[in-house]
């Protein structure tokens, strides 16, 4: 039986170049195993965007034209991993939520509850990455 993984969480915000906003970027992308590995993100990014990312580190990738492109990217990753869904939280909202929380478990619950949640209907079927990495 495939293990049903908890949601991915994505914190996104403006992609700045010399103080000017040039699209959006993923600032932290994580699941219960921590920040997602850059190699796994890069593969999905290349497939979707068609060129190498300018920002690439553990849990961090960009730029994207808009929020919709981030949603598409995150959902593809979520399908690859077999996560139950993905919760997208803006940088501003993340900072507000963090400021209001005093326990780690509350932060996790609020990020999942208050983010823009995209459910992965295929979560329980398993997937390629999940079989390899988990």
């Amino acid at each position: 039986m495939s293990e049903r993984l908890s949601p991915l969480t994505v914190i996104y915000g403006p992609h700045k170049v010399a103080s000017q906003i040039k699209g959006q970027e993923v600032m932290s992308l994580f699941n219960e195993r921590g920040l997602v590995d850059e190699v796994q993100m890069e593969e999905v990014y290349l497939e979707q965007i068609g060129h190498a990312p300018e920002v690439l580190a553990e849990g961090m990738i960009g730029p994207f034209d808009d929020l919709e492109a981030i949603q598409k990217f995150s959902f593809s990753l979520c399908q690859n991993f077999g996560n139950s869904g993905v919760s997208l939280v803006s940088l501003e909202r993340y900072n507000e939520i963090l400021s209001d929380c005093y326990k780690a478990e509350d932060l996790k619950a609020k990020l999942e509850a208050e983010g823009n949640f995209l459910k992965n209907p295929d979560a329980s079927k398993g997937n390629f990455f999940n079989k390899i990495f988990n």
Binding site: M27, M60, K103
Partner: protein
């Protein structure tokens, strides 16, 4: 998989003892009643040094008025020191010089916690402590904070001198390890940082009208580092002035479980023992005191606990706090074994310049010399006649200054071994080097191994120069081969033990006691399996290594013959082996 993940299904209940003694002989005096200090300190059996971090906010709510035993009995540090002394223990105070990950508001008095610290992307910075509480950090770049800090250190210094407290006080630069080495928690990009930085840049422009209004990323990087150092020096100077009689210097403290990756895992209530054990060893190589203060107690009972106990409590702490007289006072104590001391690029140098990681050095050393090196990172090298001249020193030519140049030559002339990457070395220094070799009538050997190597010898000293940029396009395998061939010429007398994935090994060393005089030194090999898999491996014993003792065996099967050692470690297994070593 490398990491072992453990799921905590319930909110842990913290025992009073764990809250007061969070690890590595630290004592949180504010977490218990002063009337219990005596019984608590008495219970610290076999501990000679008690590390006491000072909780600024506990002594002042405003940063303006201070309580040292006037109101709360738990602020009576004199009493604390007196009790410790009754039990033959020495108190070492640690005064935070950057936000403290284990304290609410990073340890700032509530009225001063005004500007949340943010990272370069704009995320508010926070840490998860051993109880699962979130501690948000506040900026130390706020002028109100560093002004109040000056008052705090003055008040503390006056209190110490009035009460005749002669304890050592260290400045604690809190941080954690990352891929880029030690990351101090002082780093910030908040609005107060930006305002201060703008003022700093304006002052620079006033000093130098040729500076462009719009900076290049390299200039901004360099000035950003300079500004951070200016603010850091304000805190260090405050300590030095306020606590002059007690001041010992700045100590890096690496909080295990404090990285961004750990933060997001811990928000999910997951801990990775494999990641923590790696970070602990990385801290040691960075000369940062590892601290388990942020970690839940349940994690410290198995292999991770043994690593902290053996490598930190019983070895590294003494090495740090007794450094000046470490060998003489405690002849039988183990200290980290280090063959190499590596100085990387200065932080003001553009990140585009190739550092040791780009030249494959770290990967090579980690694989073949498991943690037997000191990663000095951005620190400045200074020659010291008491330094161990058996070590091999690595420098980048691009870092060269007049001072560094002289220190490198002194090292070489005193019998030290120097490896210099000449890429980026200014012509002026190349000429000076040539002149130095000529004046001293030194023969220079020239060998072509991927790049041209220039080698000079003077007594025990060696000076090897190569062009790092020639290595940049090499594959990992070729880089390993290069370093292997190069370092083999230094005859390090090392027994290479390459552990399987997930297993960590560390080497320590001590001088011989009277019954071991057949050997030059005794080396201890500590082997740990923080993974959740059984691991098996063997290694060859060189003829000049004699196995003396097998100790601290936990979940391990060990066999050895004349020439070979076979080890099978269960998950969380560990053991230590002592070897007598001769030439």
């Amino acid at each position: 998989m490398l990491n072992e993940v453990e799921l905590s299904l319930t909110t842990p209940v913290i025992r009073d003892e764990d809250a007061v003694f969070p690890g590595e002989n630290w004592f949180f005096y504010w977490k218990t009643s002063a009337s219990l200090w005596r019984s608590k300190l008495e219970s610290m059996v076999g501990v000679s040094k008690v590390l006491v971090p000072l909780n600024w906010a506990f002594h002042s709510e405003t940063g303006d008025s201070y309580d040292f035993a006037q109101e709360k009995p738990e602020t009576d540090l004199k009493k604390l020191v007196g009790i410790a002394e009754e039990f033959g223990k020495e108190v070492v105070f640690l005064v935070p010089m950057s936000p403290c990950p284990f304290l609410p508001n990073g340890g700032l008095p509530p009225l001063l916690a005004r500007t949340p610290m943010i990272d370069s992307k704009g995320k508010v910075q926070a840490f998860v402590d051993q109880e699962g509480s979130l501690h948000k950090m506040y900026s130390f770049f706020d002028p109100r904070v560093y002004r109040a800090y000056g008052k705090f250190t003055n008040e503390l210094g006056s209190y110490f001198s009035q009460h005749g407290l002669a304890c050592d006080v260290w400045g604690m630069d809190c941080g954690h390890v990352s891929l880029n080495g030690f990351q101090s928690t002082i780093k910030d990009h908040s609005s107060v940082y930006e305002q201060g930085f703008s003022r700093f840049l304006q002052a620079k422009r006033d000093e130098n009208p040729d500076l462009d209004e719009v900076m290049t990323p390299d200039q901004e990087h360099r000035f950003g580092w300079e500004f951070q150092e200016v603010i850091r020096s304000i805190y260090a100077d405050s300590c030095e002035q306020g606590l002059s009689g007690n001041w010992e210097g700045v100590l890096r403290v690496g909080f295990i479980g404090g990285s961004q990756d750990d933060f997001f895992r811990r928000v999910n209530q997951i801990d990775s023992i494999a990641a923590y054990s790696y970070d602990l060893l990385e801290c040691l190589s960075l000369d940062a005191l590892p601290s388990s203060v942020l970690l839940p107690t349940r994690l410290k009972k198995g292999v991770l606990g043994r690593m902290f106990d053996q490598l930190v409590n019983k070895s590294f702490s003494d090495y740090i706090f007794l450094r000046s007289g470490f060998e003489d006072e405690t002849g039988v104590s183990f200290r980290p074994k280090r063959f190499f001391e590596v100085y990387d690029l200065r932080p003001d140098i553009s990140p585009d310049v190739a550092g040791w990681a780009d030249l494959g050095l770290w990967e090579y050393l980690q694989k073949y010399y498991s943690w037997c090196y000191a990663d000095k990172g951005e620190l400045e090298f200074s020659w010291n006649e008491e330094e161990d001249m058996e070590k091999i020193y690595f420098f980048h030519g691009i870092n060269m200054t007049k001072n560094l140049f002289h220190n490198i030559l002194k090292t070489f002339m005193s019998g030290g071994k120097v490896i210099l990457n000449r890429s980026g070395l200014e012509r002026e220094y190349l000429k000076k080097l040539e002149a130095f070799f000529l004046e001293n009538d030194l023969d220079i050997e020239k060998v072509k191994v991927t790049t041209t190597l220039f080698n000079a010898s003077l007594g025990e000293g060696r000076f090897l120069i190569f062009e790092g940029d020639d290595l940049l396009d090499l594959e990992d395998k070729k880089l390993h081969e290069f370093w292997h061939r190069l370092l083999r010429t230094f005859k390090t007398n090392h027994m290479m033990v390459i552990p399987p994935e997930g297993v960590q090994v560390a080497w320590r060393v001590r001088s011989c006691n009277t019954s071991e005089l057949t050997y030059e030194e005794v080396r201890r090999l500590d082997i740990y399996n923080p993974s959740s898999y059984k691991r098996k491996f063997s290694f060859q014993l060189p003829p000049n290594f004699r196995l003396l003792k097998v100790l601290d065996e936990e979940k391990v099967t060990f066999k050895h013959g004349q020439k070979e050692v076979d080890i099978e470690l269960l998950p969380e297994g560990s053991l230590s082996l002592d070897f007598g070593v001769f030439s």
